[in-house]
């Protein structure tokens, strides 16, 4: 178990849980960031927002929020669900 902000670029993971308030949860969900969804890290410079590929799109998530997204690392090609 890890948090989204800790994942290196190129790594893939499955979202386990979101720790966010109601309106933020909805916003994350509407862009595809929901528990069970698979993401791949595209940008992570260790500072500033993290950009992930999710459901065929790119979503930038502020670092503070990325720290509150729990993920399970899941290398690509491995069936995790």
């Amino acid at each position: 178990m890890s948090t989204l902000d800790a994942l290196p670029v190129g790594s893939a993971a499955v979202i386990e849980a979101l720790r966010a308030g109601r309106s933020l949860t909805v916003r994350l969900a509407s862009l595809g960031l929901v528990p069970g969804e698979r993401v791949r890290v595209l940008v992570n410079y260790g500072t500033g927002p993290v950009v992930v590929a999710v459901r065929g799109g790119r979503v930038a998530v502020g670092r503070g929020q990325a720290r509150r997204i729990l993920v399970r690392p899941a290398p690509e090609g491995v069936d995790v669900v």
Binding site: G21, G56, V59, A60, V61, G62
Partner: protein, 598 residues
């Protein structure tokens, strides 16, 4: 129809109603606020949801970006879950072709069970074709005949939209439908080429754009952003200011001459009111429009190209210091053009403290009107050093902006989360027609909102400077200025400069015109010569600081008033804060300038 329909920070944010005539049939189009979901709590999403549920529309058009179908179909699922007739409009189809895959509208139509039309904003007649199809669909009711999600996953939820709508539960109920819809509609083709009849999505379309490795980089991204902003300013002032001067010469001067001649037989005050009162105000507005048009065109191109989302990523870290996030950057930057669209631009930010704070801070950014005064005064007093002085004053104003942000955030907005969550759209060539429409609307906003106010207010200021005796030196405004002079003198401002600051309330760029009136009658010398002879450089730089930070103009105040309903106490705090801090800054700058021997 004159509507902007972008997909990211410029996503439609106002409910706009337009009427179109089509083959003798009148169509009313209601442009709902752009949202990513119908279940969230922001006012935009509520408005969209309530309007759709009211069932007033004959047909709901869901505009989807073909590049992003995988992300946008869940939204369609939400709309399909409601008992309303729906038609899908696909945009950006040309871009999918360029990326080597296709989206087959007839296949989608069959799989989604609703009519699907393609819209290419760059092609003439495309809007009319989509509209014609929509009218046909609405008339024959074929959208309603589509096989729907049985009984609707939201049955029971829809009725209690206001009282007990739990967005998380609603989203959870729709999700399986959305997934089913995705599976039915999207057929990934590994080699990226879809055969006929297949709607395909890019298997790796979610990859990083090559340029984004650099454009989102903490250092290089920032360097690039500064370059972009610098170029925007350079172009605005190097195209806009000559345009402004040209407008002044070809429009305002001849009209003034004509008016003077036409009113030669009338009482003196009639000509003075028309020329110095009304024309001065109207002329300022008119000559200012091209400058703003250039700035807003550049901004719209940046927005439309998709770059501004990258700018939001790069600036996110800094904005957090103000308890804002990257999305606030664009509206604040627009403040350099005009506070009115900047304040309105904050509507793209999620409802809450973050939006309120952006609204409150936008007028602190020195607008083009204030920059024009700073540039003029800087040029008069500091020659070659003018650029440095002007940028120092701008820097000072931005420091105050940070100060306001930090102080305001200390007292409110605790416990709220300010996090950037935004889509990074694909880059694309700006759609010139859409850009033009957007610029037209923003400049129009300025002309209408500011224009009416500026002209009325400049007539008022003119009257205050003309009555009771037709002489400025003994006028009401001069009396008021003299009354304030003791306070002004702390910051090195005599009553004329105080009056010039106050007339900036009408429109910031008016301050220069006011100086022209106030310093007239010094034996035929030009304003530049008179100013150099009668105002010390220390007073001049203090005047610049006060102008940069003083209360925004009436047009901006009116917009602020509208955008802060329910939170006007904060507005009062900020306006009072700007009034006080402008004088404080003037005082400190004046004393420092005296110490420095200016």
């Amino acid at each position: 129809m004159a509507q902007h329909t972008g997909n990211w920070p410029g996503k439609t944010v106002e409910v706009a109603v337009g009427n179109a005539a089509l083959d003798g049939c009148r169509v009313r189009i209601v442009d709902l606020p752009g949202t990513y979901s119908l279940f969230a709590g922001s006012p935009e999403e509520q408005v969209a949801r309530e309007y759709i549920l009211a069932g007033e529309a004959d047909l709901v058009l869901v505009v989807l970006n073909a590049l992003n179908l995988e992300q946008e179909l869940p939204f369609l699922a939400e709309v399909l879950a409601l008992p309303v007739p729906v038609m899908v409009v696909l945009t950006m189809l040309d871009m999918t072709r360029r990326r080597g895959y296709t989206v087959d509208t007839s296949f989608l139509e069959e799989r989604l069970g609703v009519p699907v039309a393609a819209l290419d904003g760059r092609r003439r007649g495309s809007y009319a074709r989509v509209l014609r199809r929509a009218v046909a669909v609405a008339e024959e009711g074929s959208a309603g005949a589509a096989p729907r999600l049985p009984s609707g996953p939201l049955a029971g939820l829809a009725g209690s939209a206001e009282s007990g709508w739990d967005p998380v539960a609603a989203a959870a109920r729709v999700r399986p439908w959305a997934d089913a819809l995705l599976e039915r509609a999207l057929v990934p083709v590994p080699d990226g080429r879809g055969g006929p009849g297949a709607a395909t999505c890019p298997v790796r379309g979610d990859d990083l754009e090559p340029a984004d490795r650099w454009l989102t980089h903490p250092v290089w991204g920032l360097v690039f952003l500064l370059g972009v902003l610098g170029a925007t300013f350079w172009l605005t002032f190097n195209i806009g200011i000559p345009l402004q001067a040209w407008m002044e010469q070809t429009l305002v001067v001849p009209v003034a001459t004509w008016l003077e001649r036409a009113t030669a037989d009338a009482p003196a005050w009639v000509g003075a009111l028309l020329v110095d009162g009304l024309l001065a105000g109207a002329g300022t507005v008119a000559t200012f429009a091209p400058l703003l048009a250039v700035f807003f065109t550049l901004m719209a191109v940046l927005e439309d190209s998709g770059y501004m989302a990258r700018a939001a990523v790069v600036t996110d870290r800094f904005m957090h210091r103000l308890r804002l996030h990257g999305k606030s950057f664009l509206p604040l930057f627009m403040g350099f053009g005009c506070s009115v669209p900047a304040i309105l631009g904050a509507r793209t930010i999620e409802w809450g403290w973050g939006r309120l704070l952006t609204v409150l801070l936008a007028p602190v950014v020195p607008c083009a009107g204030r920059l024009a005064v700073l540039t003029y005064i800087g040029g008069v007093f500091f020659g070659r050093g003018a650029t440095l002085v002007v940028w120092s004053i701008v820097g000072l104003a931005l420091l105050f902006l940070v100060g306001f942000g930090v102080v305001l955030s200390r007292f409110s907005g605790r416990g709220e989360q300010y996090e950037l969550v935004m889509e990074l759209p694909a880059y694309r060539l700006p759609d010139l027609r859409a850009t033009w429409r957007l610029v037209g609307r923003r400049v129009g906003d300025f002309l209408v909102r500011a224009g009416t106010l500026i002209i009325a207010a400049s007539a008022l200021v003119w009257a205050a400077g003309y009555l009771p005796g037709g002489d400025l030196e003994t006028s009401y405004i001069a009396r008021f200025g003299r009354w304030l002079e003791p306070v002004g003198l702390w910051a090195g401002l005599d009553w004329r400069l105080v009056v010039a600051v106050l007339t900036g309330l009408v429109a910031k760029e008016n301050s220069v015109a006011a100086l022209g009136v106030l310093y007239a009658g010094f034996g035929g010398a030009t304003l530049t010569e008179t100013l150099r002879a009668t105002v010390s450089p220390a007073s001049a730089v203090a005047f610049m600081a006060v102008v940069a930070l003083f209360v925004p103009c009436v047009a901006a105040l009116a917009t602020l008033w509208r955008e802060t309903s329910g939170q006007r106490l904060w507005l009062a705090v900020v306006v009072a804060g700007m009034a006080v801090s402008s004088w404080a800054a003037g005082f400190v700058v004046y004393r420092l300038a005296l110490l420095a021997g200016l």
